[in-house]
């Protein structure tokens, strides 16, 4: 407004000077933080006068953080008591927002801070490294709607693997009820789900239903449905022993526009609770790995680069260990060579009556190792042994050769050598590698492209291996790897057993070899 001076004695119009705010709305402060709005008036005022507030003035804001933003009291109090901490929370929010992953609640900042070291506060490398479109040029990113649908579809398809029969029936009844609520029929078929996905209004309504939210949280062990469109989700996870731990789920997807196949890279990072007498605190663990790369998108010789590209996440986010649940045919043998069984993790999953047998904790290491082998590994291993041996012997028609093979496989390997291994296993004295080495050198078992055991004379037999390799396939077991450089050198030593790694370095680069005078 312009200054106007009236000639007569009338009132002078004074320009409107901008008066600073004298009060702020805390809800606006929080929203400003999540939206990365540094210039927000409420936020600026809050920041200026926060240290002058009395405990009575602070309490409603702490309550707001606890109730609406789902923070813990401890986090909320820290937020108010230390400016540097507050700055870290704000930077984190800015970082997430900058990368298109706006936090839904300050709870997420709390979980991240609990999970990660301050030096890792940047999700940029995480998103870049796991982005399939960056690694495979013909793939295209998925839009939010398609990603949400794929996620739900993945979850639905996973249900038979993660639930017992009764539980599965119950979940379907929940789905049926909720489909009905949004006015759609439900008969467990894919078509029903597609009908839901193709109706945005009904889909929105479905995703807002309480029981669907509760079910999603339960089936994913803590993830929140309102973050379904996010590639990075932070959540509190209830672990095997009933403790609440910080976790992050990363899931990046991309589509081949020609074939519509969706490639995915995903995993969970969680921080285990600290073990007794461990001053270092809980381990930062990588697990639940999901890597699907469309066959058409893979170049013929960039697999190693793909792997190494992702391994750099280890240093960036200080990942200390990785857990792999192997139930993969060929892969299981490779894992058995690299890593032993993760006994403590598997022990938590022992059947109830075995736990009763073991008695109260703390459990004896050797004893639980024996139980894990007895109840969780050997039963399937033995079934496969029989199948593998039969597949070989029944395909030999020459009676003399048949007898010879029978002696070798049944009398020697099965009845003699395996018996000895089993004794050691039950005594808690056997490693996975020793088990899968059974019959090594005698590659009589044949597999098809899928890694399934086939008759030795089958036309589908494309690969071969020894008895132990055949028997371990399909056994569900948990392996654990340490990810520090020293441990990874140990992995290489295991893979190159006997040869050392010099011959392999020479293969990489002749010039390098010469330069190192190898």
């Amino acid at each position: 407004m312009k200054m106007q001076e009236k000639v007569t004695g009338q009132e002078v119009v004074v320009p409107q000077i901008h008066k600073p705010k004298t009060s702020f709305e805390f809800t606006n402060v929080v929203e400003a933080i999540k939206s990365g709005e540094k210039k927000n008036e409420d936020l600026e005022l809050f920041d200026k006068i926060e240290s002058l507030l009395s405990p009575e003035q602070r309490q409603p804001m702490i309550d707001y953080m606890v109730q609406q933003e789902r923070c813990t009291n401890k986090f909320a109090e820290h937020f108010f008591s230390e400016k540097k901490f507050r700055k870290r929370v704000m930077s984190l929010n800015e970082n997430f927002l900058k990368h298109g992953e706006k936090m839904l609640r300050l709870e997420e900042a709390e979980i991240w801070i609990d999970l990660m070291e301050a030096g890792s506060d940047d999700i940029g490398p995480l998103l870049d490294t796991t982005d399939p479109t960056k690694q495979f040029k013909q793939l295209k990113p998925l839009d939010k709607k398609t990603m949400q649908q794929n996620r739900l579809f993945d979850l639905k398809n996973r249900i038979p693997d993660i639930l017992g029969v009764e539980e599965e029936q119950f979940v379907h009844s929940v789905f049926k009820q909720n489909f009905h609520e949004v006015g759609l029929p439900y008969s467990k078929k894919n078509e029903d789900w597609l009908a839901l996905f193709n109706d945005p209004e009904r889909m929105d309504a479905f995703l807002s239903l309480d029981s669907i939210n509760e079910l999603y949280e339960q089936l994913t062990k803590g993830q929140q449905l309102d973050a379904l469109a996010r590639r990075v989700q932070l959540f509190w996870k209830t672990n095997e022993t009933g403790q609440r731990i910080p976790a992050m789920h990363v899931q990046n997807m991309a589509e081949n526009p020609d074939t519509k196949y969706v490639s995915e890279i995903g995993f969970v990072i969680e921080k285990e609770p600290a073990k007794e007498n461990d001053p270092k605190g809980g381990r930062r663990l990588l697990k639940d790995l999901l890597v699907i790369v469309d066959k058409e998108a893979r170049g013929s010789s960039d697999g190693a680069n793909f792997l190494l590209g992702n391994l750099k996440l280890i240093k960036k986010y200080q990942l200390e260990e990785a857990e792999f649940v192997a139930n993969i045919k060929i892969g299981s043998y490779v894992w058995a060579r690299i890593s032993d069984v993760d006994i403590p993790t598997m022990a938590e999953k022992l059947p109830g009556k075995t736990k009763t047998e073991l008695g109260p904790k703390p459990w004896n290491e050797k004893e639980i190792r024996g139980m894990v082998f007895r109840d969780m590994i050997l039963p399937t291993f033995e079934k496969n042994l029989v199948k593998a041996i039969h597949s070989v012997i029944s395909s030999i028609h020459n009676p003399e050769k048949k007898k010879e093979m029978q002696t070798n496989l049944v009398e020697n390997l099965m009845n003699n050598q395996y018996s000895k291994l089993k004794e050691r296993a039950l005594a808690g004295d056997l490693t996975m590698e020793e088990l899968v080495d059974l019959g090594k050198g005698l590659n009589v078992c044949k597999f098809d492209e899928e890694g399934d055991i086939v008759q030795a004379d089958s036309p589908n037999a494309t690969h071969q291996g020894h008895l132990g390799k055949a028997a371990i396939m399909g056994v569900t077991w948990t392996a654990r790897l340490k990810l520090d450089t020293r441990s990874l050198f140990g992995v290489v030593d295991k893979l190159t057993k006997g040869s050392g790694f010099i011959p392999f370095i020479k293969r990489v680069n002749q010039k390098l070899g010469l330069a190192l005078s190898l």
């Binding site: 693997d161 079910l215 089936l219 639940d288 790995l289 697999g303 450089t485 290489v492």
Partner: protein, 104 residues
């Protein structure tokens, strides 16, 4: 039964499953892709990557432990060559150069 009481098992890692093959449980070709056309060369590439990682290792303790691992796990000749590689490839100020004198 209540939703909160559902017991949920862990999903095994899904590595390399070809999206085209619904219902199949492995993808051997994925492992073969990781290994590459020349698996030995891929292993060598991994070793070189690890050596680069080692160049960033600042902890004397860790390097000490690594060298002890090597001493116990490989032949005397191989060990000698590994020391020689580190000698040539580790940066001038790397803790290795202080340790190597003791480790002979």
């Amino acid at each position: 039964m209540k939703i909160k009481d559902l017991k949920v098992k862990s999903v095994p890692c899904q590595i390399g499953l070809d999206p085209a093959d619904q219902g199949k449980r492995n993808d051997k070709s994925f492992y073969e892709w990781i290994a590459g056309e020349d698996p030995d060369k891929s292993t060598g590439t991994f070793v070189m990557w690890l050596i680069e990682s080692l160049a960033e290792e600042k902890s004397k303790t860790q390097i000490n432990l690594l060298i002890s691992d090597w001493k116990n796990s490989c032949s005397a000749d191989e060990f000698k060559i590994r020391m020689s590689i580190l000698n040539k490839l580790m940066p001038k100020d790397h803790p290795f150069h202080q340790i190597k004198k003791i480790k002979k």
